[in-house]
């Protein structure tokens, strides 16, 4: 029985060697960190997983709906690459940058990393593994070998071709992987630069590059040679556009990296320090929020038990989570207190002089406050649920549903809204002792949305309640986002100077 042409092993081996070699080169000659490799894995694997899920559910109905039209199929495939691969690469870079895990001079390495996972592992690795399995089974003979031979003869007859036919095919396969490398490198670099240099044009240039996959349905129509040359041409164009667009930034990448990594460290440091301070500053409010939640939980359970109704677990499950967002608001005052104190004491004058920007100050306070919400919700829920279980109760699905669709989203959204409003209020007004207390005003703004939902809940039952909560949450999140953008773009630094 004929075995596959061993020359075909060259194709994946060249791909793997080329991908690994590039990483080694970047590691030795330029910059390539373990974090960059892991980040590119997360971005790439996430994109491929999403593609698989989407295509699993939609590829057949879509193909039938468009009657196999290659333009429609090209758009279908291309858009998925745009959204999941390029968009995902940008999102991952953005998250990593906000945590100080990626810098401007990691941009090229990130692109190389994305290309490695695609060419060296997903395509190269899996192809090599397949060929090894084919070769071993076919060499072993027997029934399994015959079945495999029959299958491959139909599905991939070229594997049994002679060297004169195999070699050009191998060459084209390698060319395709080089093209893939060029385009992954291009959008990886652009995504990191878009994040680090905060330039949308880099992202806008990267996104259309995903449309190279538009050509996929045309592979059969164009023929292998034409397809690979056209594909290579497009990918080379992507690389040239990328290098042209980023000429200046690539020169400055090393010096900017030092600053951005320090900037990210500053944000991390601010959040960590101020979280501890907020726990201390707002300890009374934190304890108050948690204690009241326990009292309310106990009261509701007690009252429900006295009703001696069969609906007791349901009443407890649905009523207790309703009140929690109010306690989250109360318990998370500490963050805003730290902000007001630091502004009053002139801390921000120093931070700004040391290079911390207004956005970082606001963002760090918001993160601290959301951390406090997590503490209040975590302790209250754990404690109350433990008590409920100890008293012989059970966790009802209604409670989990209420926590997920109402308590958690509205708690975070209300507190974020309260904190942003309080910070802006404090920054835009002069302090008059006893009168201008952003904490007092902000409390009302934090509790207000919760009360609105509670008052309107009788009019919105079932899915209506979900819509109500979702709507209020979205409005609050949108307002917070708008305030953050306004702060970033319009807030003068002098607004954070002490009134002293």
């Amino acid at each position: 029985m004929q075995n596959i042409n061993a020359l075909y092993f060259l194709s994946p081996i060249i791909m793997i060697a080329f991908s690994v070699g590039l990483i080694a080169y970047w590691k030795i000659k330029k910059r390539f960190t373990v974090w960059t490799l892991l980040l590119s894995l997360v971005a790439f694997a996430g994109a491929i997983a999403l593609k698989v899920v989407v295509q699993h559910f939609t590829i057949h109905p879509f193909t039938e709906a468009v009657a196999g039209n290659p333009v429609a199929l090209g758009i279908y495939v291309g858009l998925q690459t745009v959204i999941f691969e390029v968009g995902g690469a940008y999102l991952a870079a953005r998250i990593a940058f906000s945590h100080g895990k990626i810098r401007a001079d990691d941009a090229e390495g990130y692109g190389v990393g994305l290309a490695f996972w695609e060419n060296g592992v997903l395509v190269g690795g899996s192809t090599l593994l397949n060929f090894i399995v084919y070769y071993v089974i076919l060499a072993g003979g027997g029934l399994a070998a015959q079945q495999l031979f029959d299958t491959l003869s139909t599905a991939a007859p070229i594997l049994f071709d002679s060297a004169t036919i195999a070699l050009p095919n191998i060459g084209l396969a390698v060319l395709e992987r080089i093209s893939s490398l060029l385009v992954h490198f291009s959008w990886g670099l652009l995504c990191v630069f878009a994040v680090v240099f905060k330039k949308k044009r880099f992202l806008l240039a990267a996104l259309p590059m995903g449309l190279v996959d538009f050509l996929v349905p045309y592979a059969g129509v164009l023929g292998s040679l034409n397809f690979e040359i056209l594909f290579f041409g497009l990918c080379l164009l992507c690389l040239l556009v990328t290098l042209g667009l980023t000429k200046t930034e690539r020169k400055n990448a090393a010096s900017v990296s030092l600053l951005t990594s320090e900037g990210s460290m500053r944000l991390k440091s601010l959040v960590q320090t101020n979280f501890k301070r907020a726990l201390s500053f707002g300890s009374i409010y934190l304890i108050l929020g948690i204690v009241i939640s326990f009292l309310t939980g106990g009261l509701i359970t007690g009252l429900a038990s006295e009703m001696a109704s069969a609906d007791v677990p349901l009443i407890v499950s649905q009523t207790f989570p309703l009140m929690l967002p109010i306690y989250a608001v109360i318990g998370s005052f500490g963050g805003l207190m730290v902000f007001v104190s630091d502004r009053t004491k002139g801390v921000y004058e120093y931070l700004i002089a040391y290079g911390v920007n207004v956005y970082e100050i606001f963002w760090s306070t918001l993160l601290v406050t959301l951390g406090l919400v997590t503490v209040v919700l975590g302790v209250s829920l754990t404690g109350n649920i433990a008590i409920l279980l100890l008293m012989g109760g059970t966790i009802q699905p209604a409670m989990i549903e209420m926590l997920l669709i109402y308590t958690i989203p509205i708690s975070y959204a209300s507190v974020a809204f309260m904190t942003m409003s309080g910070m802006m209020w404090s920054s835009l007004t002069r302090r008059i002792p006893g009168v201008n207390s952003p904490i007092g005003i902000a409390t009302l703004l934090g509790i207000g949305p919760v009360l609105v939902i509670l008052m309107l809940s009788s009019f919105f039952v079932g899915s209506g309640f979900l819509l109500l909560v979702g709507g209020v949450t979205l409005v609050l999140v949108a307002l917070v986002a708008v305030m953050m953008v306004v702060t970033n773009k319009r807030m003068n630094r002098e607004r954070l100077l002490s009134d002293a």
């Binding site: 010096s255 600053l259 320090e262 900037g263 460290m265 500053r266 440091s269 601010l270 320090t273 301070r277 201390s280 500053f281 730290v338 104190s341 630091d342 004491k345 002139g346 801390v347 004058e349 120093y350 931070l351 700004i352 002089a353 040391y354 290079g355 911390v356 003068n492 630094r493 002098e494 100077l497 002490s498 002293a500």
Partner: protein, 298 residues
């Protein structure tokens, strides 16, 4: 005094970009101009004492240099970079008359807080604790310290990380004379290859610490030059005695309960007191009778 309101470089330019460039800058708060069309550039390391009466615009000048205030017009650069840029702020340290220590923090934690912000290490924090003799205070909360101790901690921040430009806005205010003198010595140690802008309302302190002066008057540059160009009036002190005396030796007159003395500077005060004691004068109080700087701007 001659009004000078144009680029007035001191020394030779050894690099392409001046260390500090303040070119036709107008700046202030909420649209209200405090500094108006101020220009100067600094090319050489030295202590530049920023002098001016209260409200002249000294703090506004510092805040504009530090990138805290955005100028309404003109250009501000540190080492060739716009003052608002990260690169500029990497090169400068800043000390204002406000302590700026986060409430509730211990001394050492406050220093650690700022060390994290400026990229200094724990070793730097320990070095600053030793340098400013803060060892006994390190675990105390900042709020529990005396005014002088607070100032020492506040000043300690500028020694956490070496910078090229230091903006020190009245670093010795609220300090006792001994501590003020120690801080001035530390600043002098800094100055070898640094540019230090040091604001003061005390001309005699200015002369003690710096050789160059930037004088601000009504938001405009009144002088950028050598400090020796500033002519001073006599240093006048008043001495109150336990008993009224018919004739006070060396005195130039009387103002209320105080006998007036005209000296060349504060250094002559101990000698005068010794001479008066020898002549049997029982001194109850010694005080400066006027602010020489305020006199300068009349």
């Amino acid at each position: 005094m001659v009004e000078k309101n144009y680029l007035y470089p001191i020394g030779s330019s050894s690099s392409l970009s001046p260390v500090v460039l303040f070119d036709s800058v107008s700046s202030g708060y909420s649209g209200r101009k405090v500094l108006e069309n101020v220009s100067f550039q600094i090319n050489e390391p030295a202590i530049y004492v920023v002098l001016g009466p209260n409200g002249a615009g000294k703090t506004t000048l510092f805040r504009t240099l530090a990138g805290i205030l955005k100028p309404y017009s003109g250009k501000v650069e540190i080492g060739g970079y716009p003052s608002e840029s990260q690169q500029a702020r990497e090169q400068l340290d800043y000390l204002t008359h406000i302590d700026g220590i986060p409430e509730g923090m211990s001394v050492v934690n406050a220093l650690r807080f700022y060390a994290n912000i400026v990229g200094a290490t724990e070793a730097d924090v320990n070095r600053v604790v030793d340098l400013l003799d803060l060892g006994d205070l390190s675990v105390k909360r900042f709020g529990q310290l005396s005014q002088g101790q607070k100032k020492r901690v506040s000043v300690g921040r500028i020694f956490l990380k070496e910078k090229r430009v230091y903006l020190l806005d009245e670093p010795t205010s609220n300090m006792d004379p001994k501590m003020a003198s120690e801080i001035r010595e530390l600043v002098l140690r800094l100055s070898k290859d640094k540019v230090i802008l040091y604001s003061s309302h005390n001309l005699f302190e200015a002369r003690e610490i710096g050789s160059k002066a930037i004088v601000i008057k009504n938001g405009k540059l009144a002088l950028f030059g050598n400090i020796s160009e500033i002519k001073t009036e006599k240093y006048r002190i008043g001495i109150r005695t336990l008993d009224m005396m018919d004739e006070m030796p060396y005195s130039s007159g009387k103002e209320g309960d105080y006998y007036l003395f005209e000296l060349q500077g504060p250094k002559e005060v101990p000698g005068l007191i010794a001479k008066l004691s020898e002549k049997g004068v029982q001194i109850r109080e010694v005080k400066e009778m006027q602010n020489p700087l305020e006199e300068l701007f009349k």
